[in-house]
Chain length 277, copies 2
């Protein structure tokens, strides 16, 4: 089994971005809204901040207390939507339960929705009316592509938490001519036979141990998009030990989708910066 | 090769609907907006009218001249949206070129959009938030299902004219655990290898001869959703002669998707009538 190295892929991408930013003499700016003091969220923002700085993107943090009111956050988004100096806006998820995540994400101007989470952008991506990729599906497909084989006509099971995300991922597979099928996490056991027959498995449900050796066929390619914490360690959805003998390629967590996601995010910030010019 | 008989499937469905309408003593009503004097459109409306009458659904026609103003049609839709006696509204397509089809379809109250063409209903269907099926994809899947085999894990190439319709059809395949891939008609030649490897081919582009024997693998199931006129005859997308020796099942045009579509439409009218009670 070969490991698909997310750090290496990200490093290459970041080098190109850095050069592009220097050559064009631009100063792309990303606004990050962070609510509360969730340890993992703070870590992710810190990682984004360090990487952005490294390549010449300014990351501005807008911090809110855990008990912040919905209106405060919406007012901040409204300001950033109109701020000419801000190219992209992201809200670090998850938000505290008291807040309405859909409404907050929906308040971001679709033209500054650098994550590609806004409903309008999701629909536009599925309809091929928007060229900019949503960040997370992009990272998953870039990892998959790095297995460096012709993906045309391969079959993929997409194990996800929601139909909406599944549709975006299916549209992403479509761009690579991959035959895909969405499997909602809770129904994965009924669909074990189908997962077992797939050339590719992309999992992104955040439940450790979702994909084990008994779920995959010989030489399957497995892309792990799950990120969760178990015994104080960051882990993915895949049970690495049991798939090692059967899979042909695997992306690990950490060191897989995480760094590539950050690189894709920063790539989109630069793209939005160029669009406004 | 076995023919998937749309007339037979539709007749069964209509019988059940008729019984359901009689048993529940309801009077479902469908409004049909028809603009201009396109011969094919008039024929389709007439077929719907006769079938509706047969099973106890009232079909009310709202006829407009070919040069009708957009505003006249929108005013009619506005009236029908608010009319308690109207359960469902359809606009017979295509509309004359001078009219804005998207705007006219978008003006239909999504709760009365019995065809499932409204953007809100498309998104809701893809997200599994709406149980009522869009009529045309439903008819295609019912024909496919009538081949009476386990479709789980089969691969399907979907040859269509637009990404939007492709996404709806992919979401429909997903409900049957079929691995699918959207192929836009203009790109079909580059993707011949993939079509050739598919267990199922669903074509709906309205171009005769799109699917020939050299495009299909042995024992493929072919669902023809294309309807066009050639030499004064109604024909589908499939070149029947050349696929006969290779395909295992084929739905013909006429006598395939057409009658099933009408049955599915009337089924939705009844469903909307029940929802308002």
């Amino acid at each position: 089994m070969e490991i698909l190295d997310g750090k290496k892929i990200a490093a290459k991408k970041l080098l190109l971005l850095k050069k592009n930013i220097q050559d064009n003499n631009v100063e792309p700016t990303l606004a990050v809204i962070l609510v509360g003091d969730d340890k993992a969220s703070r870590l992710y923002v810190k990682l984004k901040e360090e990487t952005a700085k490294e390549i010449g993107i300014e990351l501005r943090k807008y911090l809110f207390a855990k008990n912040a009111e919905q209106e405060e956050i919406l007012a901040c988004i409204d300001f950033l939507n109109n701020d000419l100096g801000t190219d992209g806006i992201i809200v670090q998820l998850p938000l505290p339960e008291e807040l309405d995540t859909d409404m907050i994400i929906g308040a971001i101007d679709p033209r500054k929705d650098v994550d590609g989470f806004h409903e309008d952008n999701i629909v536009a991506f599925i309809d091929h009316e928007e060229e900019m990729w949503p960040v997370f599906p992009h990272a998953l497909m870039i990892l998959l592509e790095s297995a460096a084989m012709d993906l045309t006509g391969k079959t993929a099971s997409l194990i996800v938490n929601s139909q909406k995300f599944g549709s975006v991922l299916a549209a992403a597979c479509d761009r690579y001519n991959i035959m895909s099928h969405i499997i909602i996490y809770q129904q994965r056991k009924c669909q074990q036979a189908q997962i077992l027959a797939s050339d590719i498995i992309i999992t992104a449900c955040g439940v450790p141990g979702t994909v084990t050796g008994s779920y995959i066929k010989k030489n399957a390619i497995i892309i792990d998009g799950g990120i969760s914490t178990q015994n104080n360690k960051t882990v993915g959805d895949v049970d690495v030990t049991s798939v090692t003998e059967k899979a042909s390629y695997l992306s690990l967590v950490p060191g897989g989708v995480g760094p590539v996601t950050i690189a894709c995010l920063l790539e989109n910030v630069l793209a939005l910066n160029k669009r406004k010019q």
